[in-house]
């Protein structure tokens, strides 16, 4: 009987490798903690691993299991996915590799060279692949969706999502919902009109499209003066979330264009810097919340939406947690979009509060002399994903404290000294970076926030800024790191440093965890390599 059970389990494991149903992706690590089937482990984006072999007590013994070196020297922002001992990730910009998750040795690579006209604003990079059935999906820098045979890396089909020549790109991990693969278009620092598209996972045919800027006659088009809606940017360049109870898929949207000068696009500029909740079957907008109306500071809201079920004012509530680039942390009702709470989580001076509906009251504007602004254009965070632990109830965010000065071109007399003053093509605004000012120089910091109060319980200060996210595990360990190349294990309850590894290159990605043959691994992409750590 026992043998029969083992045989059945082995057979089940064998068939698992072949097909990943959407139900498996939806429950993700909750039901299969050894796998990591989407960008954040589940479509709730909590980046919480239920694996608990590695604990606060033994994490000090963590050792390097393997390293896989990429050939690319671009920033490595991808989070791998893992299916039954196979780890899939993207070597920048668009080469997919399938590695043995125990040894780090490749099964196959799929080489893809984006068209020369693919020019992303901020690096030729990709944040990860998605899986459904036996197919791996990747959005490419030249704005295609490619479908690969998960066994061999063979190209099954390639579907154009957008026109790279027009400035569109794709850099994020696709979001799989039921039988569709959903992606947004990047390039919103330039004169594009962003959109989110769903593709039939089998055929690559586009099933629906939602423009992040409403067209004439649609509600919200009036929030763009003149013809500015046609070129208002509002890209989408991070993974979405999905709530099966409401069948809503959520995406954060990017800044309006031109980035730093709103004079040509008067109005709130919907749905830039927003979260949009779309019907997953049709792409119809159900609700939205705009974090930064009429943004002039490049406060992209392209963070991953984090869905959590928490106690809110004494009652259970289905919420969305959001640590925004604009320096404010939010709790929204994810069913209705209702604004429940918003509060600066770093020093933020561009607003002094909210109205009853949650609209921020902006108080800082560019001046001739230059206006001190907190946080600076680099923001309190960027795309790097945070994590939420149902065990501790805390929200772990790798963030920056930083500031800068901004003023209109032509009004700015050049009186702000410093070698880093610069003009960019993003808009007719000059922003003085934060360097060379000991009082305001940026720091990176990992903090654990209480969603009830949006205050932090603990913090761990880094020696440099961070583009890395966080991972939290059921062993109550938070893994994070930053530009100075240390991969850190922190106590999820206290923030105490428990372990560190010098990975010899910048950490520009968030970690994930998986298990093979009963052994838990922690994996991080850093420098130009994928690292895996495990207990001896």
């Amino acid at each position: 009987m026992k043998l029969k059970l083992i045989v059945l389990l082995v057979l089940a494991a064998a068939s698992l490798q072949a097909q990943v149903t959407f139900d498996r992706i939806l429950s993700g690590v909750d039901k299969e903690p050894h796998n990591w089937l989407s960008y954040s482990g589940t479509l709730k984006n909590q980046r919480f691993s239920p694996l608990n072999q590695i604990t606060t007590a033994n994490v000090k013994s963590l050792q390097q299991a393997w390293i896989w070196q990429a050939r690319s020297l671009e920033k490595f922002e991808a989070t791998p996915i893992v299916l039954d001992g196979i780890l899939y990730t993207v070597e920048q910009p668009n080469n997919v590799v399938a590695l043995d998750a125990v040894t780090g040795r490749p099964y196959w690579t799929f080489n893809y060279t984006p068209a020369p006209e693919a020019r992303a604003c901020c690096g030729r990079l990709n944040r990860g692949v998605a899986i459904l059935g036996d197919t791996i999906y990747m959005g490419t820098l030249d704005a295609y969706l490619v479908a690969l045979d998960a066994k061999t890396g063979t190209l099954r089909w390639k579907s154009k999502v957008a026109e790279a020549k027009a400035g569109y790109s794709i850099t994020h991990s696709p979001t799989v919902v039921k039988d569709k693969v959903i992606l947004g278009t990047g390039g919103g620092d330039g004169p594009i009109r962003g959109y989110i598209s769903a593709f039939n996972a089998k055929t690559g045919e586009e099933a629906w499209r939602f423009y992040t800027i409403p067209g004439p006659g649609e509600p919200g088009n009036e929030t763009w003066s003149g013809e500015s809606w046609k070129t208002g940017g509002t890209g989408v360049w991070n993974a979405g979330a999905y709530d099966p109870e409401t069948n809503l898929v959520f995406f954060g949207t990017g800044n309006p264009a031109p980035d730093w000068d709103g004079s040509s696009r008067l109005g709130d500029n919907l749905y830039s810097d927003s979260v949009v909740a779309l019907d997953a079957d049709t792409g119809k907008l159900k609700w939205h919340y705009q974090f930064t109306p009429h943004d002039e500071l490049d406060y992209d809201s392209t963070q991953v939406p984090v869905l959590a079920d928490i106690q809110w004012q004494g009652k259970p509530r289905k919420v969305m947690l959001w640590a925004n680039r604009n320096g404010v942390m939010y709790v929204l009702d994810r069913t209705t979009g209702e604004f429940l709470k918003g509060k600066p989580y770093v020093k933020a001076n561009w607003l002094d509060g909210f109205d009853a509906k949650g609209r921020p009251n902006r108080v800082k504007f560019p001046t001739k002399e230059g206006t001190a602004i907190y946080p600076h254009v680099h923001g309190a965070t960027n795309w790097a994903p945070p994590s939420f632990s149902p065990r501790t109830g805390l929200f772990y965010v790798a963030t920056w404290e930083n500031s800068g000065t901004f003023a209109r071109e032509g009004q700015f007399p050049g009186a702000i000294p410093g070698p880093n003053t610069r003009q960019t093509t993003m808009g007719a605004t000059i922003i003085v970076p934060f360097y060379n000012n000991p009082e305001t120089e940026a720091i990176g910091v990992v903090r654990a926030y209480d969603p009830q109060t949006l205050d932090y319980k603990w913090e761990f200060r880094l020696g440099d800024i961070t583009w890395g996210g966080t991972l939290v595990t059921a062993g109550d360990v938070v893994f994070s790191g930053g530009r100075d190349g240390y991969f850190l294990a922190l106590d999820a309850k206290t923030g105490a440093l428990l372990w560190k590894a010098n990975v010899g290159g910048q950490i520009n990605a968030a970690a994930m965890s998986y298990a093979v043959n009963g052994k838990q691994y922690i994996s991080i992409n850093a420098g130009s390599a994928v690292f895996a750590f495990a207990l001896p």
């Binding site: 099964y107 066994k151 061999t152 063979t154 190209l155």
Partner: protein, 264 residues
Amino acid sequence: MRHLLTAFTVASALIAPWAASTASAQHETAQDLLDGQRFYNERGCANCHGPNGDLVPGINFSAGQFRRPMTDADLSSIIRKGIANTPMPASNVTEVQAAQIVAYLRSLASAKSATVVKGDMARGKLVFDGKGNCMSCHSVAGIGGHKAPDLGNVGQARRTPDLERALLDPQADIQPNHRYYRVVQNDGTTVTGWLLGFDTFNIRMIDGKEQLRSFVKSDLRSHGFIESPMPSYKNSLTPQELADIVSYLSSLRTTPATPAGPGR
């Protein structure tokens, strides 16, 4: 129309077909030929000349036919510098790479087609899917079996004589990335499969159940290469069926992008 005129102009300006010497190719290694083949396909040579090298009028690499006698140095120079005022472009390959392409071009002429029967692509697909049972092991563009390499681009990568030979005498010319391997684990369990990679300590393959498998060499009783399980179709298919299936395989090229995008 303009391209056609150019082609005629080029053809008339050059001398009649000529069988070229293959002597210098004898010094090349098998790896040089593989590299030459790779460059030929990857650097766009095959885009105009075709995988068999016979698509440009007056030139047929498979027959050793050029428009005038060519030394290896002549060919190498043309590959690198192109031919002015013709569609033959210059390329940025190195001298060594050009020499490898030349070696590959010379080698093409030595492989002769085994059949003179004309194949039919559509009938070939029926044989491929049916009597040949090819999909039980192979896939096309990722659809089908995974016990053997995908054939979705085989028409671009392999020439007609190569495809014929693979069907008639599959052990004769196994590509380095198409080899089969057997491991015997310490408990006696034997696993065979398509070898995907190996290094000093590990072996990776797709096994007979189409699962990606990884083995640590020190955990194995023995391991090594085995013959390809690809059967010979010499006696199981008629010459016409073979010609049809080769015709079908020759037609398999990676599918282009599906058009879509803004404005649709």
